[in-house]
Amino acid sequence: MQIIARALSRRRLLASVAAVPILAASADGRTISGELPWSPFAGEPPRPVNPLGWYFFTPGEAATIEAIVDRFIPGDHLSPGGKDSGCAVFIDRQLAGSFGQSSRLYMKGPFMPGLPTQGYQGDLAPAGRYRLGLRALADYTNGTYKKDFRALSIEQQDTVLAGLDGGKIKLKLKPGFSTKEFFELMLQNTMEGFFADPLYGGNRGMASWKMIGFPGARYDYRDHIDKHNQPYPKGPVSIYGQV
């Protein structure tokens, strides 16, 4: 067996210490030959988020986002609302991580305005877009209603969100980042939080999955594949075994 590991991520370092590999100073990359490499605990399971506190949002931003996700997903007889489902916590943790920094995307310049078919061309990663967008939203509601968004009535909040969605309200953002893009980002992230596995902080109690009848992380439907047009009898499970 020959496993020569030079490109050691932290995970691989830990794994390879356990496996006592041969480390050769003159090796050429990670060479695999002779046997399938296998080391214990080599997988990268997701880590459930800590639901307490805010990692990215200021308290004021967090209150605004909680109000917004509750208008996107109002609580009713079908499910709890976006806030109680953890959507704001979800967005906060996403913005505090690699998504918030676009750390895996192509962020080299030059940054120039593109065509709609060319996608987002701004230089702000999502964390910066939220920070700027929420400030501009506060400026707008204070200018129009003399209040922060979270202090508006439900009807006023819906009016503002519909204005952002439909193009009637233009926030003061920056070139390459439009009001519509800010709205779509918030809506997409809210839905991600509502429908993702609960380990990311949203979808508490698997509320959305129960609402639509999605069984979650079950991995075997061979017993139901040919029961056509019949309800699936089992409720959802989550990755960490919540039922």
Binding site: Q2, R6, A7, D28, G29, R30, T31, I32, S33, G34, E35, L36, P37, W38, S39, A42, G43, E44, P46, P74, D76, L78, F99, S102, L105, Y106, M107, K108, M112, G114, L115, T117, Q118, G119, Y120, Q121, D165, L187, E192, F195, A196, W209, M211, I212, G213, F214, P215, G216, A217, R218, Y219, D220, Y221, H224, I225, D226, N229, P231, Y232, I239
Partner: protein, 587 residues
């Protein structure tokens, strides 16, 4: 200064489907082979964990297994008059990354292109006259059906494909695809079990004269021991297939079919997390000496080899040729040059229907759980009174009910608020759809080259994609959408709608990771970059293997044909090239 390494008989760039097939076949022939792979080592037991693979956010939305744009992006524009901008996130298509490549996270639709595809210009000219092809750069592939059919068979029996033959050596078979070209034997495993939506689709389409059949699937209907002695498991219809890796050993991939055998061979090694920067040629540009690569620590190495096989994703194959100056770059103005020409994509539309009181259970799914029909595909129907050539496969495939991305609502429903929620609940169990996957034919204006502005993390130019849907393909797709509207009628759905393709290819919404061409095979070195054996016309010890060799794209998923071409090229190397190295075809 790069560190020089000992010579190998063959250096393979990329360890996905084509790299693994070539490595397996070349090592069987006794060659010493190294495969150099940019991404990480990945395997089922360590990386595709059944305890957490069912994570839509991580794998489908954040695209954890895919190539990340910070490693390699591309620029795009719809026409040469526009300035190409980088796709800062991949959207319209999602290239793979790491060992196994896109073979890890594909859906598993495993088609054979038809005999008419391989000789498309000859066939269409004979049937309709040359004027019918005006404006299209359709050309024969240089290989015939009888030559390539055994290679399809090899790939299907490697992968254990589940399906039903429609044409066995010219004898039509009930329940299979009557429009397929003759195959030498039945599929290795029977078709998948069908859930409700594809069953209803097949019944309804049969009732109006179409010919549905089970979509040929690399998600296996039963366990299978393949031609290398590797055992695969039965698909569990888990609904986490495309964009995910399979935790059940039931989706054919290099990991589940080849690597357990290949890695044990003393004459093979894989180097992962090593990125090949270029292929180095001799000063006359006629012979490849070596490849230069960087390991994960940024140390540069030079690996000499007698044969260099470029086996990355098709688009990256073209970029590697351009960066290495293998062949002449295509010029869309003069038509000269071959590397970058005949870039094609896929021309799709979709039908969606909504009912009341149904239980479609969309979460019971698999990448290739479905029914298809080819009545409107390729040249299966008469085009003499139509203003286009080509066609589309019609597919009713239930791949998943993952709710972040897949929760259809009746068009016109709100996208948020209380009414959105009710519409979502109403739509989830009551909706089914089917899609058209249309051919994409080459035109002068659609091509690949190097971007003049944007570079990757090593300072090398990004690939630039110049593409829009050609008029011929738009006309084709609209014709097919018209037929799809008629197809929805007998379902008596409460609501039905068919989407239509429009000009202005959009790089943002996902459409298809079926990018083809750019280093196409053919009989004429003026119009093809590689010969019929996927050997570079210009640098004969370089083979370029993948969908980059497709001279056009059909209304069929490409992987079956990619696998066949890999076996076909490997056979040419092992039975012809190593006995007498040099050009296998003299133009």
């Amino acid at each position: 200064m790069a560190k020089a390494l000992p010579r190998k008989d063959a250096v393979i760039i990329g360890l996905g489907w084509t790299g693994a097939i070539l490595a397996q076949q070349l090592t069987e022939a006794g060659l010493n082979v190294v495969a150099i792979e940019r991404g990480p080592w990945r395997d089922t037991s360590t990386d595709f964990n059944v305890a957490y693979m069912q994570d839509e956010l991580r794998y489908a939305v954040r695209k954890d297994l895919f190539l990340q744009p910070n490693v390699e992006a591309m620029t795009m524009r719809n026409s040469a008059g526009q300035t190409a901008m980088p796709m800062r996130d991949y959207g319209s298509f999602l290239p793979g990354n790491g060992v196994g490549g896109a073979g890890v996270h594909w859906n598993g639709h495993t088609w054979r292109f038809t005999d008419e595809d391989f000789s498309i210009r000859t066939h269409l000219t004979r049937r309709y006259g040359a004027a019918k092809l005006k404006g299209l750069m359709l050309q024969d592939w240089g290989v015939t059906w009888n030559e390539i059919e055994p290679s399809f068979d090899q790939f299907e029996y490697l992968a254990g494909i589940s399906g039903k033959a429609g044409n066995l050596k010219g004898q039509m078979q009930a329940g299979g695809n009557p429009f397929e070209s003759p195959r030498s034997r039945e599929y290795p495993t029977p078709p998948m079990k069908m859930s409700y939506a594809p069953t209803l689709f097949a019944q309804t389409m049969s009732g109006i004269g179409y010919h549905p059949f089970p979509t040929p699937s690399a998600n296996l209907s039963q366990s299978y021991v393949n031609t290398l002695g590797v055992r695969m498991g039965q698909c569990t219809y888990c609904g986490f297939c495309e964009r995910f890796a399979c935790g059940n050993y039931s989706k054919a991939s290099p990991q589940t079919t080849i690597l357990p055998v290949l890695i044990k061979k003393p004459n093979f090694e894989a180097r992962t997390e090593c990125e090949v920067l270029k292929v180095n040629l001799t000063p006359d540009g006629r012979h490849a000496r070596s490849v230069t690569y960087l390991d994960a620590n940024g140390v540069e190495f030079e690996q000499p080899g007698d044969i260099v096989a470029i086996c990355a994703y098709g688009l990256m194959n073209v970029r590697m040729m351009l960066l290495s100056k293998i062949g002449a770059p295509y010029d869309p103005v003069t038509g000269a040059g071959t590397v970058g020409r005949n870039y094609c994509y896929q021309t799709n539309s979709a039908a969606r229907m909504f009912f009341e009181g149904k239980h479609f259970n969309p979460f019971i799914g698999a990448g290739t759980l479905g029914q298809s029909m080819d009545d409107l595909n390729g040249d299966a129907f008469d085009h003499s009174k139509l203003d286009f050539v080509g066609g589309a496969g019609i597919n009713c495939v239930v791949s998943n009910g993952r709710p972040i991305s897949n929760r259809p609502t009746v068009p016109g429903s709100p996208r948020w608020g209380a009414k959105w929620k009710q519409a979502t609940v109403d739509g989830y169990q009551n909706s089914m759809g089917f899609t058209s996957q249309g051919s994409s034919y080459p035109v002068r204006e659609n091509y690949l080259d190097l971007d003049p502005t944007y570079t990757d993390r090593h300072g090398r130019p990004l690939l630039r994609v110049t593409f829009d849907f050609p008029d011929n393909d738009v006309a084709m797709s609209h014709y097919v959408s018209d037929q799809m509207e008629k197809m929805t009628k007998p379902f008596n759905a409460k609501y039905a709608a068919v989407s239509r393709i429009k000009k202005g290819w959009d790089a943002v919404p996902y459409q298809s990771t079926h990018n083809t061409g750019g280093a196409v095979m053919g009989a004429d070195p003026k119009t093809s970059a590689v010969n019929k054996y996927l050997q570079s016309w210009d640098v004969p010890n370089v083979f370029v293997v993948g969908a980059s060799a497709f001279a056009h794209n059909a209304g069929l998923n490409p992987t079956g044909t990619v696998g066949a071409l890999a076996y076909w090229a490997a056979e040419a190397i092992t039975t012809q090239y190593i006995k007498n190295p040099g050009a296998l075809v003299h133009a």
